[in-house]
């Protein structure tokens, strides 16, 4: 017995080869049903746990792949949702402007804002319509929420619009309910007020519209609402503080109203008086 062990140890490589080859040949030459039984035994006892581990590992790699794919889809869908929201917002704005255009019987030129005044006060904007589109100086510019400003300079395809929020812009406005008339004023570019007589019936919440005086804006264009009443330094007047209806930081699509200034018929007389535009 001892010499057998010694032989195996001494020729272990050869013995290993013979052992595995004989085992393989036995399996190869065994009947088919015995092969199946052996496969079933090995599958359930040895390879099933191994397969379980491999499946788990494969699943993990699939999860990473799926996660990456889903992240990509989220990015794509987010961009699509943003585009849809933008379109919906534009749709709302254009619907509002369409209503505005239908409410007034003037000729409107649809325009887009192409540039804003870079200063904090945001006094003016540039629109993408000019002489070529029939835009003239002093034409009023409106948005769906109300009056925006007036054209002060016209080029071929562009125009400069002075906004009503510009402290240098003096717009004649009126309280719709009481018909009290005044000039829209502001001192710091943020707080707007209307100076009106003390006895005028003005209340918080009243709508402020253009009066039609001054010759540039037609009457009835929405300007804002009264948010506060305060006393003036002059006891004969009081101040009605106004919140403008147009958000000047977010204007994109506008209309130029094709109106000639009411005083254009007298322009020669103005010239003779030495006024300059």
């Amino acid at each position: 017995m001892h010499w057998i062990i010694e032989f195996i140890v001494r020729y272990r490589n050869f013995c290993s080869l013979v052992f595995t080859v004989v085992l393989s040949l036995l399996m190869i030459s065994s009947p088919e049903n015995r092969q199946l039984a052996t496969v079933r035994f090995l599958t359930t006892s040895v390879f099933y746990p191994l397969q379980f581990i491999i499946d788990k590992a494969t699943n993990i790699s699939n999860i990473y792949e799926e996660n990456r794919r889903l992240r990509q889809e989220v990015v794509v869908l987010s961009s699509r949702v943003a585009a849809f929201q933008e379109q919906a917002s534009e749709n709302d704005r254009l619907r509002g402007m369409l209503n505005l255009a239908q409410n007034f019987s003037y000729d409107f030129v649809p325009v887009r804002v192409v540039a804003h005044d870079p200063s904090d006060l945001n006094r003016s904007i540039v629109i993408n319509a000019g002489k070529n589109q029939g835009v003239l100086q002093w034409m009023p510019v409106v948005g769906e929420k109300g009056v925006v400003g007036k054209v002060v300079q016209v080029m071929g395809g562009l125009s400069l619009v002075q906004l009503i929020r510009d402290p240098a812009n003096r717009t004649s406005v009126m309280i719709r309910k009481s018909r009290a008339i005044g000039i829209l004023e502001n001192s710091n570019g943020k707080d707007y007020y209307l100076r009106c007589r003390s006895h005028e019936n003005v209340a918080v919440g009243d709508t402020v519209i253009t009066s039609g005086l001054g010759g540039i804006y037609p009457p009835g264009l929405h300007v804002g609402i009264v948010v506060r009443i305060s006393d003036s330094s002059d006891p004969l007047f009081k101040k009605a503080w106004i919140k403008l209806s147009v958000d000047f930081n977010h204007i994109e699509e506008l209309f130029v109203m094709r109106l000639s200034p009411q005083w254009s018929a007298f322009v020669h007389e103005f010239d003779s008086l030495g006024f300059t535009q």
């Binding site: 272990r12 490589n13 290993s16 080869l17 595995t20 080859v21 085992l23 393989s24 040949l25 036995l26 399996m27 190869i28 065994s30 092969q35 052996t38 496969v39 090995l42 599958t43 390879f47 191994l50 581990i53 491999i54 590992a57 494969t58 790699s61």
Partner: protein, 165 residues
């Protein structure tokens, strides 16, 4: 010793997972690399004949169970392939990378020769057909696997040079 067993177990497990998941997508005209054979070859070169025989036998047996073939066919083929590659164990002789590549190709031939020999014996067939089968798919498969063998072979050469310094 235990560390080496764990490392080789991880190598074979990784090769098995890659062989069943990634490698099918790398097929070129139906020719796929055999990463399990490559792992067996590397282990045989590193550890010698006896471990290569037993590991080859186990790998072959697992292939027999997973693929519908004659039980013992791949076990025999991988055993012989492991034995052949183990003869060139680095403890016995130091071979340069080109010779190692040639031995890898020859290992593929030993493996496939055993498989087709069993096929001929079990289900009949001419030796001419066996020769055609071996020359046909075996050589491209061996060459494709050789591309993947470049990295471990060069890594091995690099680590040997580093150890000598």
């Amino acid at each position: 010793m235990i560390k080496a067993i764990f490392i080789w177990f991880a190598v074979f497990l990784g090769a098995f997972i890659l062989q069943t998941t990634l490698v099918p997508s790398l097929a070129i005209f139906g020719v796929k690399p055999d990463l399990l054979m490559l792992a067996l070859f590397m282990m045989a070169i590193k550890t010698g004949v006896m471990p290569a025989i037993f590991i080859g036998f186990i790998i072959g047996l697992s292939q027999d169970i997973y693929s519908p073939s004659v039980l013992g066919q791949s076990a025999l083929a991988k055993t012989l392939a492991g034995f052949f590659a183990g003869l060139f164990n680095e403890k016995v002789m130091r071979l340069d990378p080109v010779i190692l590549g040639i031995i890898l190709i020859l290992t593929f031939f030993v493996n496939d020769l055993a498989i087709y020999a069993v096929q001929v014996v079990k289900s009949g067939g001419s030796l001419g057909a066996v020769a055609k089968e071996i020359i046909g798919p075996t050589f491209p498969r061996a060459l494709y696997t050789l591309i993947f063998a470049v990295i471990p072979i060069l890594w091995e050469q690099f680590s040997v040079i580093k150890t000598r310094r």
